[in-house]
Symmetry: C2
Subunit: 510 residues, 2 copies
């Protein structure tokens, strides 16, 4: 039986490549947290230089020569060499390295460098344009990035739509054909539910969330929740950035960020919990596999399932606040005086169509994603021109959510993704929502009295279960295979839909 | 006439190498400022990976092939090709690229990677050993680094002593033979001066510096002084680290750090001014030359001349405090109430042999360096064994300064340098002290009423002069050539010696 040991000639250069990627990730983290304003241009060059080197090393003839010994480079099938029987990690490693290699091999290195540089610059222009509420300022960069991504799809090759080539990067195996029925099904259940909620006599008062809350205390509370979740500060940090994110350089150095709004208690709190969910995944990857695909997360949908499970299934649950509300009340006794946990629970679960995706409730969130999913397909397929985006955005907002942004900062400019070239990323958020409930229901079946444990502040029982079932496996299994291992079946939107119908049915007395 | 334009085939890959080095420098900065404790091992690997890549790229056959067209690789002489007349930047660039290339070419890439990794690890062990006051804990790593540095000297080749090979890295052209007489001369004048000061009836009371000072306010004051010096926060940052340092990734991103001691007003204040001096040099390098040696500082001695000039010639001068003392008093009115600027000036210039180099006064500072200069020669030449260091250190402290550390943390473990493999670095501090006064005297000759300007808070007149005379030139000239351009003569210890004799003669009424 051949094991990973037999593949050392392959894993050694992969480890070097991963270290270069980790360095590039630190450069990006710094760009979002501490870099002085003037350093942006030089930083874009540094990052694209490292990404170009990593790309060149991955597609080097040395790696190709090794890989071709064991894998048919056309199909990815393992060769049937006499005497070669591989154990599961080795087989998985070869499958996933082939996936990365064959994708990278289709892209010229100078294209990779150019794409990286243009995205880094576009991100900076986007941030300014957003500050200025000026889409037109961002338009030239968006055009450049869009045409590079169309070019990328052509390099990669695809069936049916170039958008499928981009989707597959973030969610292996995902296609428009698979996603569209999911969205139809979700929409079919969520839109009527939303209508019923809007017609419900129950009106939730959430003004308690919008008093003035000391920023340092908010941050301290977020930190405390992270610790309770099992996020290890010996191997992590919490910093501030305009947009909360999680990044990892190694399982021993996984960093999360948050933001704090003085007049909105939810922003810091839920972004800490959300990013903490991502952070636990990355801290829970097996360090022995670092540098190989087995030390990497299986897909973005899976990653998002972790953050959304912690944010919503846990962080917006009664059980969680049974434990944490008294502590929150002690922290902000002035603002929360006389308000009980039940009122707080209702306030943080108020359903209301709103303009900003990251602030959306659990229900309307997926409508925000659907809008983006449709728009980015049209962009990549060339049916929509970049300059028409603000109008299209606003019309779809009106149609799906019944509200219209008053400016582009709260409309088409709100998300960083397109500036980074991350077309095909958004659907993974909805996949994450669906996965999150499917996994959480399984956790409730397998962990005795899970919600009692949560209500006693014992969040780490869930963290340990996720570590065992999901985190430690990295890319050992495909997303679908891992879903079946964890829950006994493939992705299924039903648990999510039943969960929201039950939860909001109860809150809104439907 | 051929210009830099004709050398683009050479400067393009150099720019890529510099970007890799900048990325490695950010990784080091992060290690000292924000990296979580658990991330150290992975970080060491990331840095050594990048340094290995940068090294391999520098000694690549492509660069060698280009360079050999124009330079005799044995001697560094420009070839006398027909039609090749180079302008000064191009000539300087070829001279300095040859210097970097031929040095790098002598070192095997796996040696560079190993040295980098061992130093990164040794630094972390050193920090723990220092915390524990336990030299023995650091000894195995020190032995490893020491033997690698001896190996490096052998690879590089040298005349007379392997230590010369290491010295030359930090201070091009510097040798034991040139340094030793300098130290003898300095010692011959400083030791008698120190004796006279110790016998003087003037006793300076500096207790005002050791009250309790709010840390945030100290930092705010340090920041204010940096702004007055012309340090540009749009292209820089001030952070905290255990040991203050300056690092640069590009002239648009130059970062300084400081430390704050609640019971010592000098530590944050003077490290801000000191690092600010370094920072101005790096911010003042010509960005058009970035990536070439012409965009790099000329030597560590020169770099230190900038920090020491700002720290001592300016920051410990009457003129400076005429402007800043009222502001300091306003910041710490409680602690400084009733104490005038003259008392403060005396306090910050109190001469007193002390254990810690970075806290030493201007006079005894060079004795700390002399001790290190002697010890590290003996280590590199193999006359002293690493395990004997604490005893040797303490005996020399007794001999030169009349005091003995009570533990290794305030003795042989106090400096990070040897853990980083920076043998041959210490003498540049004394060179910096000597250069600093030589340059400052020249500035006083050339800038009308310089000290009046300083007393009016107009520190930027000095920053601009230094920018014109030194910073912008990078490595266009050799250190000796640049010294002569600025002051009309080569390095001369006399200005420094006269300055301290006059200054301290007056303070101590000798």
């Amino acid at each position: 039986m051949k094991t990973l040991k037999s593949l050392e000639a392959l894993t050694t250069p992969l480890l070097e490549i991963q270290r270069i990627n980790s360095a590039a990730a630190l450069l990006s983290w710094d760009q979002e947290t501490y870099m002085p304003a003037g350093g942006g241009e030089a930083r874009a060059e540094q990052i694209s230089t490292l990404q170009g080197i990593a790309h060149q090393k991955l597609i080097s003839p040395d790696i190709e020569k090794l890989l071709v010994n064991w894998v048919d480079l056309e199909t990815g099938e393992l060769r049937d060499n006499p005497g070669d029987t591989w154990d599961e990690p080795a087989r998985s490693l070869l499958r996933e390295v082939w996936r990365d290699f064959s994708r990278a091999k289709k892209l010229p290195s100078d294209f990779v460098v150019r794409l990286s540089r243009e995205c880094s610059l576009a991100q900076q222009v986007w941030a300014e344009a957003k500050d200025n509420h000026a889409f037109s300022q961002f338009l030239p960069n968006l055009r450049t990035v869009l045409s590079l991504k169309q070019q990328e799809a052509e390099y990669l090759g695809y069936r049916e739509s170039p958008y499928n080539a981009l989707l597959d990067v973030y969610e292996p195996g995902s296609t428009i054909a698979a996603l569209r029925p999911l969205f139809v099904q979700i929409k079919g259940r969520l839109v009527p539910l939303l209508k019923k909620i809007q017609q419900s006599p129950v009106k939730i008062d959430d003004t308690m969330l919008f008093h003035t809350f000391d920023q340092a205390r908010q941050l301290e509370f977020g930190r405390l929740v992270l610790i309770a979740m099992g996020y290890d500060f010996e191997r992590g940090r919490l910093d501030l950035s305009a947009h909360p994110f999680t990044t990892s350089f190694h399982p021993t150095d996984v960093r999360v960020t948050t933001r704090v709004h003085e007049h909105d208690l939810q922003s810091c709190l839920f972004s800490c919990i959300h990013e903490g969910g991502h952070g636990l995944y990355d801290q829970g990857l097996d360090p022995r596999y670092f540098g190989t695909p087995l030390g990497d997360s299986v897909s973005l949908g899976f990653h998002e399932s972790q953050s959304r499970m912690w944010e919503n299934c846990v962080g917006r649950s009664r059980a969680f606040w049974r434990f944490f509300y008294p502590m929150l009340q002690a922290t902000f006794h002035h603002q929360l005086r006389g308000l009980d946990g039940e009122q707080f629970y209702a306030a943080i679960n108020r359903v209301k169509p709103s303009l900003i995706r990251v602030e959306a409730d659990e229900l309307t969130y997926n409508l925000h994603i659907m809008l983006r999913f449709e728009i980015e397909q049209d962009l990549i397929e060339g049916r929509t021109r970049a300059e028409d985006l603000p109008g299209i955005w606003n019309r779809k907002m009106e149609e799906y959510l019944g509200i219209v942004p008053s400016n582009d900062a709260e409309g088409v400019l709100q998300d960083v993704h397109w500036s980074l070239g991350a077309f095909g990323y958004f659907p993974t958020y909805t996949l994450g929502n669906l996965y999150s409930v499917q996994f959480y229901e399984q956790a409730k079946l397998e962990i005795p009295h899970l919600e009692d444990e949560i209500a006693a502040g014992q969040l780490m029982v869930l963290q340990r279960w996720l570590g065992q079932k999901i985190h430690r496996w990295g890319r050992m299994f495909t997303p679908d295979h891992l879903t079946r291992r964890v829950t006994g079946k493939s992705l299924d939107p039903e648990p999510f839909l039943s969960y929201v119908e039950k939860k909001y049915g109860e809150i809104y007395k439907l």
